[in-house]
């Protein structure tokens, strides 16, 4: 068997990107449209920015942005903290 280390390096880069994508916060305006996170000023009633963090989705539970609901999968994993999903 031969393993292509170049491919594995590519895999690691992808993994890093996937991990980097695990931002806890998603920012939306008052109409529920996505907005740059750096422009967000309020979360769960705190702060006074023009944009808001979605209470669901990456904060836990289902949230909706631009008419698309997200967070409808993955909740069970959050309830198994430390356990992992592996068999």
């Amino acid at each position: 068997m031969k393993i292509d280390k170049t491919a594995i390096a590519g895999m690691l880069a992808v993994s890093a990107a996937m991990l980097a994508g695990c931002d806890d916060r998603v920012c939306v305006d008052k109409q529920g449209r996505r907005a740059p996170v750096q422009d967000c000023g309020g979360h769960s009633g705190g702060g006074a920015g023009a944009y808001y963090f979605v209470s669901g989705w990456r904060g836990g539970g289902v949230g909706s942005v631009d008419g698309v609901a997200r967070g409808g999968f993955g909740g069970e994993a959050a309830g198994h903290a430390g356990g992992g999903v592996g068999e």
Partner: protein
Amino acid sequence: MQRIALAPRAGWEAKVEALGLVWHTAAGAPYWNESAYYIFSADEIDRIEAATAALYDLFLEAGDYVVKNRLYDRFAIADWCWPLIEEAWKAEPPALNYGRFDLGFDGHGTPKLFEFNCDTPTSLVEAAVIQWEWKEEVFPTCDQFNSLHDKLIAKWRDIAPYLASGAPVHFTHARESTGEEAVTTAYLMDTARSAGLSTEGLLISDVGWDGRRFVDLQGREIRTLYHLYPWEWLVKEPFGRHVLETRDRTLWIEPIWKMIWSNKAILPILWDLHPRHENLLWATRDRPVSDSYVRKPILSREGANIRLVKDGRDLAATDGAYADAPVVYQGLYDLPDFGGVRPVIGSWIVDGAPAGLGVREDGLITGNLSRFTPHIIYG
């Protein structure tokens, strides 16, 4: 089958990290353990390989039996999933159809099945890549039972013509702090890319629902979705029933029929169909038939909520999140003892073809932190 102590390579942490194993240490101790290795003879590997192929055939027969007799209640599967399972079982949609049989084996007798991990099997990167590179550096002239990498790529290549053309395969996993699930998923994504497929990765919680379709973060429809996330969780979450609504639009890898094979409720059915088969331990769902047994929840993961009883006395037990789940009972297997270290063989299979092995070692119960120790074939 021997276990030999060995000095770890200098800088082993950096070496395995460079290959993707960023979770090489757990709870302050090496999870990837190259302070020892296992030697198997060619004859022993032949017996593991033969048992793996035989067990796969038993699972095929048991799957047919479950579907034909609609025994889904025994598996605690919601009734709205039954038609999906039956459709998928009969239609055989494209899948990797990979998994890992956990076996008891001491080098002398025949390997015995503990369970089949085929919905979200992990220790894949360790088995396919890390131990192979270790062997290439430490024992370059020896062989290893390991064709996982090649077989996964070949299987992607095999199913590629049957996947939605022009759309990427989306690879999903749950957020998890060690990186194990991200890297395991990324590794599988890499095998798909090596087979010529275009791929996209995202968290399972980032999968969107636009009212009629599953979509990715760019709003593109997800046509093929690989999930390192258990079916029994998917179907009870808020988007679960959308799987039913999109049955003609989104292909799930692995398919929903894996809810049968990956569930430990299959163990008593295997035993009922093939009592005293040489690769099976007795298994029942009502009560133990001996005073030495293992009690397992049908859906537990990572060695949680397992209880071992020997001669009527508790030998070991773990706690976890599955205390209230239905259980099965299985005959107790006396794992080989290498100075207090007890190995379990993880024998991989890809679409019916044995594909290699990995050894996890611990005490009497193999769990999330049980060490992965490499192996070679000699003689």
